[in-house]
Symmetry: C2
Subunit: 380 residues, 2 copies
Amino acid sequence: MDRNSPDSPEWFPELQNPPRLLLGPGPSMVHPRVLRAMASPLVGHLDPYFLQIMEMTKKLLRYVFGTQNDLTVPVSGTGSAAMEAALANVIEPGDAVLICINGYFGLRLADMASRYGAQVRTIEKEWGEVFEPDEIQAALKTNPAKVVAIVHAETSTGARQPLAGLAGVVHAADALLLVDAVTSLGGLPVEVDQNGIDICYSGTQKCLSCPPGLGPITFGPRAVEVLVGRKTQVANWYLDMTMIQKYWGTERTYHHTAPISANFALYEGLRIVAEEGLPARYARHERNARRLWDGLQEMGLELHVPEAHRLPSLTTVCIPEGVDGDVVRRRLLDEYRIEIAGGLGALKGKVWRIGLMGYSSQPENVVLLLAALKECLAGA
Amino acid sequence: MDRNSPDSPEWFPELQNPPRLLLGPGPSMVHPRVLRAMASPLVGHLDPYFLQIMEMTKKLLRYVFGTQNDLTVPVSGTGSAAMEAALANVIEPGDAVLICINGYFGLRLADMASRYGAQVRTIEKEWGEVFEPDEIQAALKTNPAKVVAIVHAETSTGARQPLAGLAGVVHAADALLLVDAVTSLGGLPVEVDQNGIDICYSGTQKCLSCPPGLGPITFGPRAVEVLVGRKTQVANWYLDMTMIQKYWGTERTYHHTAPISANFALYEGLRIVAEEGLPARYARHERNARRLWDGLQEMGLELHVPEAHRLPSLTTVCIPEGVDGDVVRRRLLDEYRIEIAGGLGALKGKVWRIGLMGYSSQPENVVLLLAALKECLAGA
């Protein structure tokens, strides 16, 4: 690089990350212990020590997913990669897949499934609403499917899909239940085994409070049966669980070089979850969310999702008439260093999205955000 | 988690990474400044500060790739994900792809290409040999192809494929030249534009000395033309460059949550490359590799690849008759905390693989390894 050109190394300054309070849809605040783990010196991806960390990570992931599933691992990409892994491993060309769409991530599931040659059938709801088991049952009656995919915590709407009762209707129709738990895992109960979920995945940068980069996923016995019974190869090499499980299983066969540091971070993040304990963690998310909801409503703001189906991890707030949502967001960022997000897709320009996930879910963050938002709205 | 069970949190100890000198095929030693970057507090993936880092990272990647290509970004997975992105974005079902196979990663290219519906044609050489342009020209005459894929630095064999002359024959046959530079980028010249390479990718954990987790990739104008002229959607959602470029380009459209910390680390790693300067960096890799080769040969060990085509970043050493290669490796790890690797595929049990990549390429590491290896061989 020519040191006299404007592209010379001197023009690439040292990292000087501005302080941010991350209260958007993710990444959430990373726990300081997890940041420290990110900086640990590396070992090789087949080092006996790393294999120990992998084994303990699988156990901790089973704990947080609420499952006994053997095939429970982090895939080496973000939550979206885990979503794709969930679909790619059980779909063969021509398979019918029923996707429940009530937000942006339902649309994404449909897009991905179609790329694997699925016959995509959809049932749709307004963004912010949730599905009833009998609606899925009815859809499966007219349109049998191999897989039913549904989003537990719709990050685009803030709606919380009840999981109870889904497996009953899905399994009765001989389909697999695939659940997106990106914005719920570690923040509210997912309980894979209790809810009869066959495939479930998440991301590390939400309620687990790790940096983005890994996608925890679990496949139950019925899903594994479909996987091993495939007639065609998995169409995605990087996310092919038949190969990934040989690295994460007893064979330790090299597939790709695992992101060592991200796995150290996930291990530490999961230890923190286990130390707090899931019930206490869920209660904390619920408590801080309620405080946020109360505060927002006291300010005269309307919440997009009715309380019965509101996510504790992500709240959608209707932007008041006459207020420019982007200006308010920008002021929060510039003046108070707080990140919240705007709406996605059908809710673009209509809502703010406020996340209280993992380490971000603290009472001091709630009162600070409420106070800062009040200031910004007073001037808006 | 039941605190009285053997699975209780107390059973998951704090991270206590053993010290390791990483002299295998990757990950290499991560520069301390890069480790520090990994621990930086996060900002959001659409934060104005992160967008700045993205822009500077693209510039630095263009520098290290030796290209003016606009579409030069890190994909959010390891080098294998970048390999898959390289293929998936230009292959449509039925396209003919010519793969040059002289090692494990050529085989991987063929496996991946077939999953995207390519008509895979191959030319093969012994593991450790390299291809001549006229061999590729001849193969294209009988078997025209849309893409010719070849590995610059075969991590499984230690062979260095000359790049000069390849583009001439490939472009004359109206094909795209796709080059795997996983074990070369930042350690020896790749020079994408000068060598007429249309698609080139790498990983962060080799000569760039960052943790594994990102896959730098670049698409030249002819590859972009193929990409935008596709008749079918890219079959891989997570690696679909038509969407990824909208996030890394001016639109900033959300695709997936970028691994923020890994991108901070890559930025810092690339700054270090720019500070040293590529010519000095290449000379350092060459110098330390020669010292290693000389030392190994003085010990009576034979190198698998003739000097003319030997990689400075990765050396394959023939395991002497009567020596158990795994026992020696294990002793190096247990007694001297040094990681080297065994052979892969056709070279399994026949060679050791020693990497001197990025921050690992230091004279003190060479003399230490030689001394330790001597001790281990004396007892073997």
